[in-house]
């Protein structure tokens, strides 16, 4: 499309670099330096979207981050499409596919527009009032319908194809915003070598100066001042300049989070680059120079396409070389719009200015209007037009009454209702706002963190003052206070008279003056909310949804606040303001997620024999952060068959398990035994070096916390093992006591979980498999009995060899330095072939230990189980003066006979494998709700016994031996017999290797 509204010979666009993109299927041209909004306006496209609720035609309202209307779906290719992009901030890039939102079938013809006709019923609180009844309609009708209507754009469904990274950084001074105040602050702060970061959300730094063609600073044009300042800053090694970077969150301790858009402005970005970079900045001092947002005026039908903010008109004309219209009416209650009008006039546009203020109240800005018609003391009562504005209806005000209407024909309106300082980040930093009546705005008051504001965000609107304030703030932040005067001419007129909704002669009931353009909230809605009793601004906000859209009310917040104050006849400070929360502007999920996806989402810890297990076709399960071999299916085997084969191999011959994930802690020091004595309920002082003991660890509450085998390596050295998932918490628990309760004990802890790989060799043939490889250890049963540890070598490398068993069979756990684990494993596996050696996984391990009646912490226990509950009261020393948990075990409740106790369950039918977690009752005919006696904690089909076995905790279980109880099944109940929680070898003979297993030759 021809760029009919492009102005010649001006602007910061690069006319040598034309680009083209598509908007709703039409090709739109522009130049590098354009935003989507400026390029569309250059081509005369003013209709850019439909409003959220009433589907009213909308055009662009602003030229920046505060845009509520022009929200686009931007498609950069598969996996690179996202909704709700503000046309005013997305840079026009060749090849973009852009479409408007919230309409069907098209932007021009939208069925949803019917909502506008029934607007009188769609008032504030419509949903709350309407969808109350009948109750049954909610799930099936109301909620689906509301959900379908809610939201603007369409969420993408393809995985994000881009990459995102995070970067942590530190600086002495962070300056947010690179307008005049921010530039001056950065210059001052960086003079003495302090580390300075200057971040600005726009593609180009300079802020308002980029659209200022009339001011001179120290004798130079504003644009030259910007260029020189940026050159100076870029030349300082201590300065980091971050453009396209939005500071969106201000957290504790001057932790400010920024999001940098690295590649969105590039048509063919280098694939090495991330799309966005999230900066986590820890700044010693912060200078906020975030500027101010212009306010719309509240009048009937102030939302027609072509009606925009006055300063936006000026920016489109000066910075983007675009005429947003040919005939422009400016409507204002302050001086700033006069400069906009003068600049529009200067490029030959037809300009009229309407000022709410009477002639007498107009200050030096009057001089800017040479050749421009001024209607002073006039109000705006409406607009004409449909998909574009065609006229502004104004009327003179005299003595409080509205005079005769007059329609000013126009194709663009520039309105200005004053300025709202962007105090978002200051407020996020928990700083207290104060209200300045003369500018009708909240400004930063008391700081809570090490920051200060400068320029328009502090309510300072005069250019020379802004620059001086910025300089002083920067110097102050750098710890070297200084002042510098800037000669800025001409002086900035700042006259202003606050106005809420403009006076009108129409029935207020019929006037729809929009305050929140994105959420379609009108002044009338605010009035209704207050009449219905919502007097707190926080309540009004939520009831009307004013300022709750994606723009967070940047253009609407103050308007609603002023209106509430006016209706309630309370001062604004008494009414208060709503809370500003991060993010300042929407942030992509990708930036927040960063690299936390795929392989870098979470550490997946793998044991030393992992790759071998992968090659063997093992299936894996997650155990805390670890990925452990679950079972090793052979071709054609399902899990059940594989586990049965693995279990049989261990019972009859020999199996290998990678047990490296067990937590291990080396407890060293002259007081090590005393420390162990206090940490565990059982005794340790008499355990001789070379011996192992089962350790059951309790927390202060007396409940089982963890368990594991402990080997005493030397009088002052214990090798403690924990469960796989329990390692970190046991270590922390021990350190906690050592550092806070018993700092007098001479003990040190070192995590050795990953130092030692552990290979469990279990089964009647275990000794024969390891014997050829072990040197320096007598493996005979007499010299190396069950529950002992020996140090020697295996395959020529050091080992802590333990004779321990979690299967009930003769077994060893070979500890070797982790990098040697694979070599040892492969040697054992190769040699063990003659015995039919079988690698087994965690599932077979669980079955084998359940057959033998060994508990697993976290399966049989759930944080409410005492040693006695699982039949381990023998582990609790009665002689020791104290240990962690002792006092709690003495509570009467811990000894009640009806506590849930560990029992075994056998299915009466001999076939039903119970469900883990299934509830247990005594009588299935009792009334509901039934009395539940306990639940199944472990359940398997035992390959050794060839029938189901289960462990369970049952109220008073040990007194119920032989009883028949009932366990829930998906179909009802099944009968079970209560037995002792050990199904195989209750005398424990097999660990001695005395039982002949089957032999695979």
């Amino acid at each position: 499309m021809a760029q009919d509204f492009r102005l010649p010979g001006r602007g910061r666009i690069d006319r040598k670099k034309p680009i083209a993109f598509t908007f709703n299927g039409r090709t739109v041209g522009g130049y590098e330096g354009d935003t989507l909004a400026s390029a569309l306006l250059a081509s005369g496209i003013r209709l850019m979207g439909r409003s959220f609720k009433y589907h009213r035609p909308r055009g662009v309202l602003t030229h920046g981050a505060d845009e509520p209307n022009a929200l686009f779906q931007v498609d950069r290719g598969t996996g690179r499409a996202d909704p709700n992009n503000r046309a005013t901030v997305v840079e026009a890039v060749a090849g973009l596919t852009v479409s408007s939102q919230n309409h069907w079938p098209s932007l021009e013809h939208d069925i949803g527009q019917v909502n506008d006709l029934v607007a009188p019923v769609l008032t504030a609180g419509f949903y709350y009032k309407t969808f109350m009844w009948p109750r049954s309609f909610w799930d099936k009708f109301y909620e689906p319908a509301i959900r379908a209507a809610a939201g603007l754009g369409v969420a993408p469904d393809a995985p994000d194809a881009d990459r995102y990274v995070h970067r942590n950084t530190h600086c002495d001074v962070l300056v947010v915003g690179a307008g005049p105040a921010g530039l001056a602050a950065a210059l001052a702060a960086s003079e003495a070598g302090k580390r300075v970061i200057l971040a600005d959300e726009q593609a180009e730094m300079g802020g308002s100066l980029l659209a200022d063609l009339t001011s001179t600073i120290d004798g130079k044009p504003a644009s030259a001042f910007v260029a020189e300042a940026l050159k100076t800053l870029a030349g300082r090694a201590n300065v980091t300049l971050l453009s396209r970077t939005t500071a969106f969150g201000y957290y504790n301790h001057n932790h400010v989070v920024l999001t940098e858009r690295v590649t969105d402005h590039l048509a063919a970005p280098d694939p090495k680059l991330p799309r966005e970079r999230l900066w986590q900045v820890r700044a010693k001092e912060v200078v906020l120079a975030t500027g101010a947002h212009e306010r719309p005026l509240g009048f009937a039908d102030n939302d027609r396409p072509g009606i925009m903010l006055a300063d936006s008109v000026r920016t489109y004309v000066n910075r983007y070389a675009v005429a947003p219209g040919r005939r422009i009416v400016f409507a204002t209650n302050g001086a700033s719009a006069y400069r906009a009008a003068a600049d529009a006039k200067a490029v030959g546009l037809d300009v009229t200015l309407v000022d709410l203020r009477p002639e007498a109240e107009i200050g030096p800005e009057r001089a800017l209007l040479s050749g421009i018609e001024l209607l002073a003391g006039h109000t705006v009562v409406g607009s004409t037009g449909g998909k574009a504005v065609t006229g502004l209806i104004v009327a003179p005000l005299s003595g409080g009454s509205v005079g005769a209407r007059r329609t000013l024909a126009c194709d663009c309106v520039g309105m200005s209702g004053g300025w709202t300082p962007a105090v978002h980040l200051f407020s996020q930093s928990r700083g207290k706002l104060t209200f300045r009546t003369e500018i009708d705005a909240f400004v930063p008051g008391t700081s809570v963190q090490a920051e200060r504001s400068a320029g328009a965000c502090k309510g300072t609107y005069d250019l020379a003052s802004i620059l001086a304030e910025g300089w002083a703030a920067g110097a102050d932040a750098a710890g070297a206070p200084s002042t510098r005067a800037f000669a800025a001419t001409p002086a900035t007129p700042t006259g202003f008279k606050a106005a809420r909704v403009l006076p009108t002669d129409a029935d207020p009931k019929n006037v729809r003056a929009f305050l929140d353009f994105q959420n379609d909230v009108t002044a009338k809605d605010i009035g209704l909310a207050v009449r219905e009793g919502f007097e707190s601004v926080e309540h009004v906000k939520r009831y009307t949804t004013n300022s709750m859209a994606t723009d967070q009310g940047k253009t609407s917040n103050m308007a609603a606040l002023g209106l509430v104050s006016e209706i309630l006849a309370k001062d604004i400070p008494q009414v208060g303001t709503t809370t500003f929360r991060p993010p300042y502007t929407p942030v992509t999920f990708g930036a927040i997620v960063g690299t936390a996806r795929g392989e870098t989402f979470d550490p997946i810890r793998t044991a030393p024999v992992h790759e071998w297990a992968v090659k063997q076709g093992a299936k894996f399960e997650n155990v805390s952060l670890w990925r452990r071999a679950w079972y090793f299916p052979k071709p054609g085997e399902d899990m059940h068959a594989a586990v049965a084969r693995e279990c049989r191999a261990v019972r009859e011959s020999v199996g290998l398990l990678d047990a490296s994930t067990l937590g291990k802690i080396e407890v060293v020091g002259p007081d090590a035994a005393e420390f162990m004595n206090r940490m565990y309920p059982n005794g340790w002082t008499k355990l001789e070096p070379g011996k192992c003991r089962y350790g059951l660890m309790l927390k202060e509450d007396g409940f089982i916390f963890d368990d594991g085998i402990v080997a005493r390596m030397a009088p002052d050295r214990f090798h403690v093992t924990t469960s796989t998932g329990g390692a970190p918490r046991v270590m922390a628990h021990m350190e906690d006591y050592l550092q806070t309760e018993w700092p007098d004990l001479d003990v040190f802890l070192t995590s050795i979980t990953e130092e030692w790989g552990v290979i469990a060799v279990q089964g009647p043939r275990a000794r024969e498999v390891i014997a050829p490889f072990v040197t320096g250890i007598d493996l005979s049963p007499q010299a190396f009995p069950q529950m002992t540890v020996r140090e020697g070598e295996i395959l020529g490398v050091p080992t802590r060899l333990m004779r321990v068993s979690f299967t009930g069979e003769l077994g060893f756990e070979i500890n070797v330095p982790a990098d040697f684990t694979q070599a040892v494993w492969e040697a054992l596996f190769g040699y063990g072939q003659r015995f039919g050696i079988t690698p087994y996984g965690t599932e077979a391990m669980h079955v084998l230990r359940a057959e033998r009646g060994f508990i697993i912490v976290g399966q049989e226990t759930d944080g409410t189980v005492t040693p006695d509950d699982v039949g381990l009261s023998g582990m609790v020393s009665k002689a020791k003066k104290d240990f962690v948990g002792k006092r709690s075990l003495a509570r009467p409740d811990m000894a009640r006979a009806d506590r849930k106790q560990l029992v075994g369950l056998l299915s009466a039918d001999g076939r039903t494998v119970l469900e883990e977690g299934a509830q247990i009752v005594a009588d299935t005919r009792q009334a509901l709700p039934m009395t539940m006696l306990g639940h199944v904690t472990s359940s398997y089909l035992s390959p050794t016994l060839n029938h189901p076995i289960a462990l369970a905790v049952v109220s008073g279980g040990r007194a119920r031996m032989g009883e028949t109880l009932f366990v829930t099944t998906p179909a009802g109940f099944t009968a079970v017999k209560v037995v002792a929680p050990v199904f195989l070898d209750p005398e424990g003979k097999r660990v001695e290797g005395l039982v002949e297993g089957g032999v695979h030759a």
């Binding site: 580390r195 991330p274 020091g669 979980t753 490889f773 990098d819």
Partner: protein
């Protein structure tokens, strides 16, 4: 009688060492965690087994191959080339004889990376929140911290940064660093689970 076995187990590190790139996987090493308490009024020894223990908290003393990083008031990570630990352990213990200390071998517990070049700190700062600039973390600094979701020890011996993490976290740490290094050029290409380790 068991058959005689002549083979000797070789180290199989979780990541194969790499010789170049912004993020290098270092060959296996021997390591110890040394912990000591200074009795009230007494001073800690300045060295043991040839390791210089005199540096203040969060510093490292030694060479890139053999150093002592002080990570706590009474805690050092001692690192030396693979194979030297067998002699270093007894030497340290002998030098500290008579005082209370804990010396635990952790040579296989850790994997190590070397990051060099002008962007080394930027790459690390993708996941480390600490200030790694020359002013805040000059050569000779050492600390324990987090990289993303993994605990790491960062040691700055010379200009380069050495990163140590637990063995099983190495694939995650490596992938994280490679992802962060991508925008600065080539990354390393190490495969995990390789058996090509040092002896």
């Amino acid at each position: 009688m068991p058959e005689p076995v002549a083979i000797h187990a070789r180290r199989a590190p979780i990541l194969a060492p790499s010789a170049s790139g912004l993020v290098r996987v270092l060959p296996p090493a021997d390591r110890f965690v040394l912990q000591m308490k200074a009795p009230r009024g007494a001073v800690l020894p300045a060295s043991a087994g040839g390791f210089d223990l005199s540096g203040p908290l969060n510093t490292v003393r030694g060479t890139p191959e053999r150093f002592a990083a002080r990570l706590g008031p009474g805690e050092w990570l001692l690192v030396c080339p693979a194979g030297e630990g067998a002699a270093a352990g007894p030497a340290i213990a002998s030098d500290l004889a008579g005082r209370f200390f804990s010396l635990v071998a952790v040579g296989h517990r850790n994997a190590a990376f070397l990051l060099s070049g002008t962007h080394a700190a930027d790459i690390l700062n993708a996941g480390i929140a600490l200030d790694l600039s020359d002013a805040a973390f000059p050569p000779g600094s050492a600390t324990r911290t987090l990289l993303g979701k993994a605990e790491v020890v960062v040691v700055r011996v010379g200009d380069a940064f050495r990163l140590e993490c637990w063995r099983s976290f190495a694939p995650y740490v490596h992938a994280f660093l490679q992802e962060a290094a991508r925008e600065f050029g080539c990354a390393t290409s190490s495969t995990r689970g390789s058996r090509q380790g040092a002896g």
